[in-house]
Symmetry: none
Subunit: 159 residues, 2 copies
């Protein structure tokens, strides 16, 4: 089912009207897997936007909801926060999306952005420090080594 596999990253420019070309490779995957809509929200942790194909979004929501009690005021608030500030994107005739100003401002997108395929989701990063890696190579290698050798990563494991 979840054959959605967004791969790769690319750079792009947001034009003066806030429009942005949706990379052809991603569009292809959407078509192939029969996905129609795209849901966008600001990432919970990072300063970037996340785009979910509709089916992935639904799965996420269901997963989250199943963990949260409907009758717990606090948990209900968490859920609300997750669902609020969500935007449905549509492609225009040229295959572009319009990034509402509000969202651009949220993560500080001006001109340059970077698309990043994250398997079942897509991320959109402001492109100011685009050529810098997300992590320091040293740190990355250390963590990766640990991970691939079966040791648990950090103290907080939530599974």
């Amino acid at each position: 089912m979840s054959a959605v596999e967004f791969i790769g990253s690319s750079d792009a420019k947001v034009d003066s009207k806030g429009r942005l070309f949706f990379p052809a490779s991603f569009r292809k995957i959407m078509q192939e897997t029969g996905e129609a809509g795209l849901i966008m929200r600001k990432d919970v942790f990072q300063n970037c936007l996340v785009l979910y194909p509709e089916s992935v979004w639904k799965t996420q929501l269901a997963g989250l909801r199943s963990r949260l009690s409907r009758w717990d005021r606090r948990e209900q608030m968490i859920f609300r926060q997750f669902v609020a500030d969500v935007e449905l994107l549509t492609l225009d005739a040229n295959g572009r999306v319009l990034l509402p100003k509000r969202y651009r401002d949220m993560v500080g997108i001006l001109q340059d952005v970077r698309w990043v395929g994250m398997a079942d989701t897509i991320e959109l990063w402001p492109g100011e420090r685009m050529n810098e890696p997300f992590m320091e190579p040293e740190e990355f290698s250390t963590e990766l080594e640990r991970l691939m050798n079966g040791e648990s990563l950090t103290e907080n494991e939530s599974r």
Copy 2:
């Protein structure tokens, strides 16, 4: 399916359109092991490109993802770093790959490149300083000694 084992290196030229012949010896191995696609990625540490046969890539990715929580800020960042700067390559009718300009620029590939078989992956190095060794002989021997005396190199080794 037998194990993929790319060995040897060879020099080649990128033409004016960024195309590059995929060495016949490597292609043969791809065929024999029934590999179709190639995933290319900028190495995090080195200034080179790494090519994974699709199955190798999938194994790597699956291994990583199964250990990473989507809801952990740090783990998500590791995954992000791993999948950023990744591209799907396809061979054209002549058995060439097109190296997107972005990637050529990332590692500084102009004309000459060098293919290097790295067992289950293939590396592609800019060939300007092609005849120089990757490491100083002195450093190489020291490191190798250290590695082979206890620390694990790949997941095949005990740890």
